[in-house]
């Protein structure tokens, strides 16, 4: 019984059915939008300050105390900018694309449990829903790249499609490992069954999922579609004003969403001692995001063929092997000794990484033209 369902039951005792049904839904949607927007603001500020310190800079510190109003100032600036549509662009698609990018990311949050019972809908296929919805925004990115009628944007759009198709597979396969252990697709149940965080039980699955999501949210070192040194800004090169802001929101919303999913799947969600669950949840999101920022500020970018090779030659086989190992363990290992499982899985993870480092060649060389 989620909190919203309780709220609905309570309303149903005094209001007509339709109102009792619709009001909690609206309240829930508002809460989620506010949560996402606030988190995005916090995370933008956090990333800028955090990355600045990695780069021995200070970062934004002028607006408000310690610069915490910087995202708001940015938002105001971007709202008042002129909205430019390329003369030869596809105007309708150009207009729709930011929405198509942003809406699916909001929809992901419907199944993220941020507290015990605090979930908009406890779908019994929650994680499948996440996978399905999150790849929708790729369509939006492709639309944006197509509509801009710009060659950089087109290259970016095609890169997105290739990247998303490649990285969706290892991500899904590593999720399956978690699902096998839990025995359910519901996000609530996944959290409930993590008395030990799955990052310990499935280190390899975590690594694959983490790298795969880095690629899916277009973060360094897989940020090929907006590689600013090659194709400048990629798909949003011709966007300005509020449309650009939607892409920006979408990008960071994606980061928040995937931080939430990683937290839920591998870091035991809102569970934790002493502190209230919501605080634990936020702390874990921030830790995951800090890791992402740290990686972004250190590592150079991969090339497009190396990116593909990494997905198909390294991550996909590893994810399959990981799935088989987990399945075998779930089948044969007694559940009372999780420590054995942790040791075995760590050993397997190390062995596989070493093996793949030696065996596999990343990407091709020169093409004869």
């Amino acid at each position: 019984m989620t909190l919203l369902e309780q709220f609905q039951l309570w309303l149903a005792s005094m209001w007509p059915d339709w109102a009792a049904y619709i009001t909690p839904a609206i309240v829930g949607i508002l809460v989620i939008i506010i949560f996402v927007l606030t988190m995005v603001m916090v995370i933008i500020y956090f990333e800028r300050r955090f990355m600045a310190r990695f780069q021995i800079r200070l970062g934004p510190n002028r607006c408000g105390p310690e610069g915490i109003l910087q995202p708001i100032a940015d938002a105001i600036k971007v709202l008042f900018k002129e909205d430019i549509v390329p003369a030869k662009g596809d105007k309708l698609v150009h207009w729709i694309a930011p929405i198509v990018v942003f809406v699916p990311i909001l929809m992901i949050f419907a199944v993220v449990p941020i507290h015990k019972g605090a979930i908009l809908v406890d779908l019994n296929v929650g994680i499948v829903y996440v996978v399905a919805i999150s790849s929708l925004s790729t369509v939006g990115i492709y639309m944006a790249g197509w509509a801009a009628n710009n060659k950089y944007a087109l290259i970016s759009a095609l890169r997105t499609i290739a990247q998303m198709v490649s990285y969706e597979l290892p991500v899904v396969l590593s999720i399956l490992g978690v699902v096998l252990m839990v025995g359910s697709l519901s996000m609530n149940q996944i959290v409930d069954s993590q008395s030990i965080p799955f990052i310990l039980l499935q280190p390899l699955g975590f690594i694959i999922f983490f790298l795969g999501t880095l690629a899916e949210m277009n973060r360094c070192p897989f940020d090929l579609l907006e590689a600013e040194s090659e194709i400048i800004a990629g798909y949003h090169i011709e966007y300005s004003g509020m449309k650009f802001a939607l892409f920006y929101l979408g990008e960071y919303g994606h980061a928040v969403a995937y931080s939430c999913i990683i937290t839920t799947l591998f870091l035991s969600g809102w569970r934790g001692p002493l502190l209230p669950p919501i605080i634990w949840f936020l702390i874990k999101i921030m830790v995951v995001f800090a890791l992402i920022v740290w990686i972004r500020s250190t590592i150079p970018r991969l090339r497009v063929d190396q990116l593909m090779a990494f997905a198909w030659k390294c991550m996909l086989p590893m994810a399959v092997i990981n799935l088989f190992i987990v399945a075998a363990e779930v089948l044969w290992l007694p559940e009372v000794f999780p420590w054995i499982m942790i040791a075995v899985n760590f050993a397997f993870a190390c062995a596989l990484v070493l093996l793949w480092s030696k065996l596999f060649v990343l990407g091709g060389g020169r093409v004869e033209v």
């Binding site: 800079r57 070192p221 590689a227 090659e230 250190t298 150079p300 497009v304």
Partner: protein, 367 residues
């Protein structure tokens, strides 16, 4: 049914984050693969060669600052050496040392920029670049102390330098020389072993040895291709023969070798700086040269090993106060000749890093 594809032309630049200025490339792409590159330059052309014909020899020194604005000191150096060769001026001992100290500082500073921006082109999100800017900032402070500017130094004069170094200079430089090797080690730790950097740069953008000689590549680009040629040693100018330094040589000529050669050259420059500081004599800082110099009729080609390659000045004098012909041999323009051969068949991303590893400076190319 076979899918029909056709190459398309991508216009990179003049406004592009990684063209290091206003450089434009007409790139023909087949998907992501580069089929053809045509560099288009001239967006920063200021006609310095023509301007110099109407100014005196001393008045031309500020113009040389504006060639390769990341290495103004060596530009000054090359020009004054050429004029001194033309006019037969002997400079005092202290001046030779001062010039070599600032020129080697300039080489470190320029290589820091080159490597930093090369890594930025690789997509390392500014971090290594800002670390290198930190070190460069220390050097710029010292240049500022010596000559009052941070970018366009105008420090050298015909027959000497404009002013002696202040008292604070040598202690600060000594401290820099002591600290810098630690930072070079740090950069190595950050990136030299980084797998992604190796995957991206090894074997990419190879400039073979014979081609490198044929296009008269110079500087780190030539040495990375395995040619043992450094004008500081092979055509010694000033007093470089008194110092003990090694010349790092690459063996493949790929982007990684160019990066590696630059990193090694920084260490070698620090060795030269150590020796020069230790030997620095006292004395005058400028020879007696008339304000309006009239060199005898003749011509001279003076070249030095600038950070980016062989910087040459071809001067023709008609015994008047201004040069009759003032020609600059820009190293990076001539290095660029090979760009097309190096990138064809590689991806767009490789085009960017190959271009970045050549360390071009548009102020010098367009003049």
């Amino acid at each position: 049914m076979a899918i029909k594809t056709e190459p398309f032309i991508l216009n990179m630049g003049p406004q592009h984050p990684s063209t290091h200025g206003v450089f434009r490339m007409k790139v023909t792409l087949d998907g992501e693969v580069v089929v053809d590159v045509e560099p288009v330059i001239g967006y920063l052309h200021r006609g310095i060669e023509k301007l110099a014909e109407g100014r005196t020899y001393t008045q031309n020194i500020p113009f040389t600052d504006r060639l390769d604005y990341l290495a103004s000191m060596t530009n000054n150096f090359a020009y004054v050496l050429a004029v001194e060769k033309l006019a037969g001026i002997k400079v005092p001992e202290r001046v030779e040392y001062l010039r070599i100290i600032v020129a080697e500082m300039m080489r470190i500073s320029s290589h820091l920029m080159a490597v930093g921006f090369f890594l930025n082109d690789l997509g390392a999100m500014m971090t290594p670049m800002l670390y290198m800017f930190r070190e460069r900032e220390k050097l710029l402070d010292l240049f500022d102390m010596v000559c009052g500017q941070r970018l366009t130094y105008n420090y050298m004069r015909i027959g000497g330098v404009s002013q002696d170094i202040p008292d604070d200079f040598l202690p600060a430089l000594k401290r820099f020389v002591a600290e810098m090797p630690g930072f070079i080690d740090e950069y190595d730790q950050l990136l030299a072993e980084n797998e992604i950097l190796l995957v991206r740069t090894k074997g990419v953008g190879v400039l073979p040895k014979d081609l490198a000689i044929n296009i008269a590549a110079s500087g780190p680009v030539l040495r990375a291709s395995g040619v043992d040629w450094d004008i500081r040693r092979d055509d010694t100018y000033s007093i470089y023969d008194r110092f003990d330094f090694d010349i790092p040589i690459g063996n493949v000529g790929d982007c990684y070798d160019r990066y590696w050669v630059r990193m090694q050259e920084m260490s070698q420059s620090i060795r030269i700086l150590e020796q020069a500081i230790a030997q620095l004599p006292e004395g005058k800082v400028c020879a007696d040269v008339p304000q309006l110099l009239r060199p005898p009729i003749g011509e001279v080609y003076g070249h030095i090993e600038a950070p980016k390659g062989e910087l040459g000045f071809y001067l023709v004098s008609d015994n008047s106060i201004s040069p009759y012909r003032f020609h600059i041999r820009p190293p990076t323009l001539i290095n660029l000749t090979a760009l097309k051969d190096m990138v064809i068949g590689w991806k767009v991303a490789d085009l960017i890093i190959t271009f970045g590893s050549m360390d071009v400076c548009l102020g010098e190319i367009d003049r």
